[in-house]
Symmetry: C2
Subunit: 395 residues, 2 copies
Amino acid sequence: MKQVGMAMLLFASLCCAQESGDFQPAATNVWGAEYPRVDSAGRVQLRVKAPEAAKVKVNFWSGPKLDMVKQPDGFWTVTTPPLVPGLHYYTLMIDGAEVSDLNSHAFFGGSKHASAVEVPEPGSTYYSIQDVPHGQVREVWYYSKVTGTWRHALVYAPPNYDVQTNVRYPVLYLQHGGGEDETGWTKQGHANFILDNLIAAGSCKPMILVMAYGYARRAGQPAPDLTGKPFGSPEVMRAMQEMAAAFEDDVTQVLIPYIDSNFRTIPDRDHRAMAGLSMGGMQTFQVTFNHLDMFSYIGGFSGAAGPLVLGNQKLDVKTAFNGALADPAAFAKKVHLLWVGVGTEEPERMRAGLQTLHTSLLEANIQHVFYESPGTAHEWQTWRRDLKDFAPRLF
Amino acid sequence: MKQVGMAMLLFASLCCAQESGDFQPAATNVWGAEYPRVDSAGRVQLRVKAPEAAKVKVNFWSGPKLDMVKQPDGFWTVTTPPLVPGLHYYTLMIDGAEVSDLNSHAFFGGSKHASAVEVPEPGSTYYSIQDVPHGQVREVWYYSKVTGTWRHALVYAPPNYDVQTNVRYPVLYLQHGGGEDETGWTKQGHANFILDNLIAAGSCKPMILVMAYGYARRAGQPAPDLTGKPFGSPEVMRAMQEMAAAFEDDVTQVLIPYIDSNFRTIPDRDHRAMAGLSMGGMQTFQVTFNHLDMFSYIGGFSGAAGPLVLGNQKLDVKTAFNGALADPAAFAKKVHLLWVGVGTEEPERMRAGLQTLHTSLLEANIQHVFYESPGTAHEWQTWRRDLKDFAPRLF
C-alpha cells in the first residue's frame, strides 16, 4: 500500500509536471516580462494584451503558425507544441497587422525588429556567457567611397586584445543572412560567446571577427523601383547582382583596408577568412572566389553557391567562379579550408542545393568539409553549430 | 505678363510644396522603409498595414495622440502637426494592443523596444556623424558580485584610444532614464557622435564614456510582487530604494574597479564624472553624493534630486545628501562641477522640481550651473544639448 502510494505520488508529480509544465520566462525577454515562457520540453507559452482585437495569431517563421485564444482579461494566449532548441523568430498578426511582441527583445530579421524566443539546448553551454575571459564587441563607423555613405560594422576583439598590445591577430569576416543586419551574429548567434568559450578551451586561435552590414548601393545610384516585380524577374535579379557587386567592392576596397589600419591584424590571405549564412554564404563565395589573393579560408553556412545558383543542377567546376576550382591540386594548395554546412531540417530546396554542391565538389576531388547539423532548420542553432565547427579549423 | 507668369509659377511651387510637403523617409527608419516621413516643418506622416483592424491610433509619448485613417488599400495613415526637433518615441494602438511600428528601428524605452522618429533640427550637426575621427562603442560584460549576474555595459573609447597606448583618460559615467537601458545614450542620444564632434573641435577633452545598465537586484533577492501596488505606495518606494541601493553598490564596488582595470583610465576622483537623465539623474545624485571620494563632477539632466524628492519644497541644504552641501566653501573645493538642466517644455512637475533645486542651491551659495534647454521637452533633444553643454566643462 505504501509503495502504491509512493508510485501514485510519483505519477501525480510527473503528470502534473507534464500538465502544468515547468515554464520559465525566456532568456530573450525584456527585463521583468513573464511571457513568453518556455518549458523543458521546448513548449512556448505566449501572452499578449489586445482587448479589442478580433483575431490574434502567432507566426513562428521556422515553426508553427497558431491562432491565439482570447481570455476574459483581454489577453490572448497560446501554448506551442515542443520546438527544437534554438532561437525562434516570430511575429504576431493582430487583425491583419504584422507586429512584434513587446515582451521580447528585438532581433533584426526579415528587414524588421522581430521578436524571438530562445529554447535552450539541454547541456549546451558553448553559446552562452561563461566565467572565462571575454572579448569586446566594438561598434565602428567607416566611410565608404563605394557607397558614398558612413557604414556601421561590429568587430569582436578577442580577450586580452588591449593587454597584449604587440600581438597581431587573424581575421574572420562573418556575414548575416538576408533580412538581417550586422547585429545578427552577436545578438542572435552569440558569436562573441562562442569565440570566448572556444578560445578559453584552447579549441581555436584568438581571432578578430568582423561583422559588416550586408547591403550596399553604389554612390549616386538611385534605389531601383521594383514595384510589382516578382522575385526571380530580370529586374529583381539585376538589382540583387548590383547590390552584391557593390558589397563585394565595399568589403575588398574599403572595409578590409579599414580593419587592417585600425586593428592589429595579420593582413595577409593566410590569416583572413570569410564565412556567412544564407545570403551571407552566397556573398562569401562571390567575394572570396573573386579575390583568392585576399582570402584562404571560406565558409558557406546554409547558403554558399548552393540553393539559388544550383537547385538540383550540378556545379560545373571547370567554369564556376571564374575557373577557381578547375585545378583541384592548385585549389587545395591555395585554399586552406572550404567549408559547407546545412541543417538536416532545412527546407528541401536548401538541402538539395547544398547536397548537390557537396556532391559536385566530391566528384571533382575538391577538398572540402561538409557539415550537417542534426535536427536543426534554417535558423540560428544551425549557424551557431556551424561557427563552433568552423572556427577551430582556421589559421 | 511674363513676370506674372513667373510669380504664379513661384506661388504654385510654394503652394504645392506646402500642400504636399517635402517629406523624406526618417533617419530612424529601417533600410528601405518609405514611412515614417518627415517634412521640413517637422510634420510626420505614418503609414501602417492593418487591413482587418477596426481602430488604429498613434501615440507620441511627448506629443500628439492621433487616430489614424483607414485607406482602401488596407493601410492606415496620418500626418501630425509640426513636432519640435528631436527623437520622438511612439507606439501604435491596433485594436487596443500597444505595438511598435515595424518601419522604425527599435529604441529601448518604456521597458520595451519602441519606435521613434527623428525630426531634424535645422543646422544642428553636433549629434550626427561627421567626417572627424570616431571613437568606438564597445560592449563589455562584467560579473557583479552585488547582483550575482553578468552585466552588460557600453563603453565609448575616444578616437585614437588604440593608437596612443600610453595615454590615460578621464571617465564620465552616463546613465539612461527609467524604462530605457544602456543602449539609450548611443542609439537615441548619439552620445558617441556628440563626443567625437566636441573632441574634434577641441571643445572637450578626450574621455571615456561608460553607459551602464541602470537596474539591479541583489543576488538571491526575489523580484518583489508589486501587483496592484500603485506608484508611490510604501511597497513600490521600498522596491525602488532597494534597486537604487543595489545599483549604487554595483557601480561603486564592481563597475568602477572593472573599468579602471580594463581601460586606460585616470582612476581618481578628479578624473571621474557621473551624469544621468531623469531616473539616471537621481541615481547620479545618490551615487556621487554618497561617494564624494570617488567623483568630483556631477550632472543631473531633467532628473537630479528635483522632481520626485522635492516637488515644490525647498532642499534643506544642511541635511540633504548626508550634509554634503552644508558647507558651500568646502563643497566648492571638493566638487569641481555641479550641473543641473531641464527643458523649458518639460511637464510642470519636472520644471518646478528642478527650478526649486536651482533656487535652493542659489540661496545656499552652492556653486552650480543651471541650464535650460529652450523649447524642448522631457526627451532626447534636451539630453543631447545637456551633454553638449556638460562635457566641455569636465576635467
